[in-house]
């Protein structure tokens, strides 16, 4: 088990390094000078100062080394557009909002998705199944940037059920979390349904039935256990989905999270911010993949015990 964790940690570090390098390379492939507009308006020395401050006058290799150095010390450099802040502070300030949003959505998506998937599987090929799957596909198909405004228009404006455009209390987080959760919920529902249907076909389910156990007991104690395991492997990619979803949702709902800053930095071509947040996101994602992988190995008794002796 420990050998495996070590191996994975190593590959995790390598991938992170690769992504950091990749993003660095990409950023520096951009033609043109980020200070082009400034150069036209300000005297040369001032611009030169700025260039120095952002290390843009040094050779590429040195910039790279400095960048990597900064990363290890969790210093992602200053923002070009927001001259008073540096990227790390920006990320830190946006993190709480994004984290709350992300976690709430994950919870909604998991509970809703599993429930929907189980129901669909129980009524396989009957009306409930078709209805559930119809909604699931709908949830996958409607992009969040269409769903979100619709939610705002109806729930917030027209019917005045929930407030938006601020982040002052839990009520404000309801609509954004729902908007963010719908896509992942649909994906989970489909997956759980397929998994559950496969489980129902298994022999041990017949054994459970022959024991005279109640349907509830069979479905929840025997069925779901086996059906849910694969969902854990799923959480990693789901997280990626969630992250990109936050860009849209935070922008539309005006939530002060990392996603909003990221989107703005793209519009403004604020390269250090783009770079920094990309690396941050990748790190979070890779960490999640790592954690779910280890988690899966602990939860599935077949694997846990196979490695237990190591």
């Amino acid at each position: 088990m420990w050998k495996y964790m070590l191996k994975r940690s190593l590959s995790m570090v390598i991938t992170l390094w690769l992504i950091a390098t990749l993003t660095f390379v990409i950023m520096h492939l951009i033609p043109g000078d980020p200070f082009a507009t400034e150069a036209r308006m300000l005297p040369e020395e001032v611009v030169q100062n700025m260039r120095e401050r952002y290390h843009l006058d040094k050779p590429l290799i040195e910039q790279y080394v400095q960048y990597m150095n900064g990363l290890i010390h969790l210093d992602l450099g200053p923002s070009i557009q927001q001259k008073s802040q540096d990227v790390t502070t920006l990320i830190q300030s946006g993190f709480p909002a994004s984290a709350v949003l992300g976690l709430q959505s994950l919870v909604i998506a998991l509970t809703g998705g599993i429930a929907l998937g189980v129901v669909a599987a129980l009524f396989h090929n009957r009306l409930m199944d078709y209805a559930a799957m119809f909604f699931a596909i709908l949830g996958i198909s409607v992009p969040s940037f269409i769903l979100a405004p619709l939610l705002i228009k109806y729930f917030a404006v027209k019917w005045e059920l929930l407030p938006v455009a601020s982040w002052d209390g839990w009520e404000y987080s309801v609509l954004p979390s729902v908007a963010l959760a719908i896509g992942p919920l649909a994906i989970i529902a489909r997956f759980v349904r397929t998994s559950m249907i496969e489980v129902f076909d298994q022999d041990y389910m017949s054994t459970a039935e022959a024991k005279g156990l109640s349907t509830f007991h069979i479905v929840f104690r025997h069925g779901i256990r086996n059906a849910i395991l694969p969902v854990i492997t799923f959480i990693g990619p789901l997280f990626a989905n969630l992250i990109t979803g936050t860009f849209v949702v935070e922008k539309i709902f005006a939530i002060p999270g990392i996603g909003k800053y990221f989107v703005e930095s793209i519009f403004n071509r604020d390269y250090p911010v783009i770079l920094g947040t990309s690396v941050f996101y990748s790190a979070v994602l890779i960490l999640t993949l790592f954690v779910t992988d280890i988690l899966y190995r602990f939860v599935d008794p077949r694997i846990k015990l196979a490695n237990g002796g190591e």
């Binding site: 078709y130 409607v142 990109t244 996101y281």
Partner: protein, 316 residues
């Protein structure tokens, strides 16, 4: 069951088999292909998907011709008109007809989606196919397989949309660059699937049997490998196309989509988003609905195909 008394005596003579054998009714049998097609058509959702997709494709092709406007024809007096007999989908703020724009946008979105997905398919099949085929074929085979798989694993860990966004930030947004950006990392999923499927098929006993019976390699590939892999490839394609369309609309949301005057559903939706609260709902509605319906159709079809191609599926 007949009563004994009613059974004629004269029947107690030896059976004439030639007459008897023809009585054995054979159940209508179906080949794998036919059975799969039949299964798809039984799936109502998938059929709905096909119809929807068909309608969308036809309208994208012929829709613009149905009204006498062009997509870029501006008319400032006719700005922001709601639905009417002259403008079936209304107009946008520059007076351009929405119906025509929507279907021309459809052409662009569908084009991007299909082309990007096809490029991914080619790369993915080549890489995955090579990798799967080479595995187990001696030292060099395994080396190639391992190398390609390391590559795939690393790329898989990198968030897809993130890379696409970054690429678009450095390349100037445009039709070609979008397709390029989408294709560069999208092939990874297909490669993994193809390799996995090839390995699975290779491991099947019927392939081993064919090999031992002396079947030439080309024939094995043609008759055993390809039919089994084709199914997975087609199903994956029906999922990667909507993925690409979604990614394109996402890029548009970030301002990294196709540039004016070309419009895709994504850019139109983005424009419509800005004015949603001022009441011109049709500007977001139509492109938004089109994106949703297209993705819905592909997903429904993909689900149906998945069920149909599964030889295990459907208990008797």
């Amino acid at each position: 069951m007949a009563e004994v008394s009613h059974v004629p005596d004269e029947l107690f003579r030896p059976l004439d088999r030639s007459r008897f054998d023809s009585h054995n009714a054979m159940r209508p049998s179906a080949s794998y292909g036919l059975e799969s097609i039949r299964k798809i058509f039984r799936n109502k959702l998938a059929v709905l998907g096909f119809c929807l997709l068909g309608a969308i494709v036809i309208l994208s092709a012929f829709g613009p011709g149905m009204l006498p406007y062009s997509a870029s024809e501006q008319s400032l007096v006719s700005g922001n008109l709601p639905l009417s007999a002259e403008h079936w989908f209304g107009t946008d703020d520059l007076g351009r007809d929405m119906w025509v724009r929507t279907w021309e946008g459809g052409r662009i979105s569908l084009f991007i989606g299909v082309v990007a997905a096809l490029i991914d398919l080619v790369i993915g099949v080549v890489v995955g196919g090579l990798s799967g085929y080479m595995a187990g074929r001696g030292k060099w085979g395994d080396r190639i397989d391992n190398f390609l798989m390391r590559l795939v694993e690393i790329l898989y860990g990198i968030p897809y949309l993130l890379v696409v966004i970054l690429l678009m930030v450095i390349m100037e947004p445009g039709l070609a660059t979008i397709i390029t950006a989408l294709s560069i990392t999208g092939w990874v999923g297909m490669a993994r699937l193809v390799r996995g499927q090839i390995l699975q098929v290779k491991g099947q006993e019927y392939v081993l049997a064919a090999e031992k019976l002396g079947t030439p390699h080309a024939k094995i590939i043609w008759r055993h490998l390809i039919p089994n892999v084709a199914g997975i490839i087609i199903v994956n394609l029906t999922f990667t196309i909507p993925q690409a369309i979604f990614a394109e609309s996402f890029l548009s949301f970030l301002g990294l989509g196709v540039q004016a005057p070309t419009a895709s559903w994504g850019t139109m939706a983005n424009d419509g988003l800005a004015v949603i609260l001022s009441g011109q709902w049709w500007r977001l509605f139509f492109p938004g609905v089109m994106i949703s319906l297209t993705m819905f159709a592909f997903n429904a079809i993909g689900d149906g195909l998945q069920d149909a191609f599964n030889p295990r599926g459907g208990k008797a």
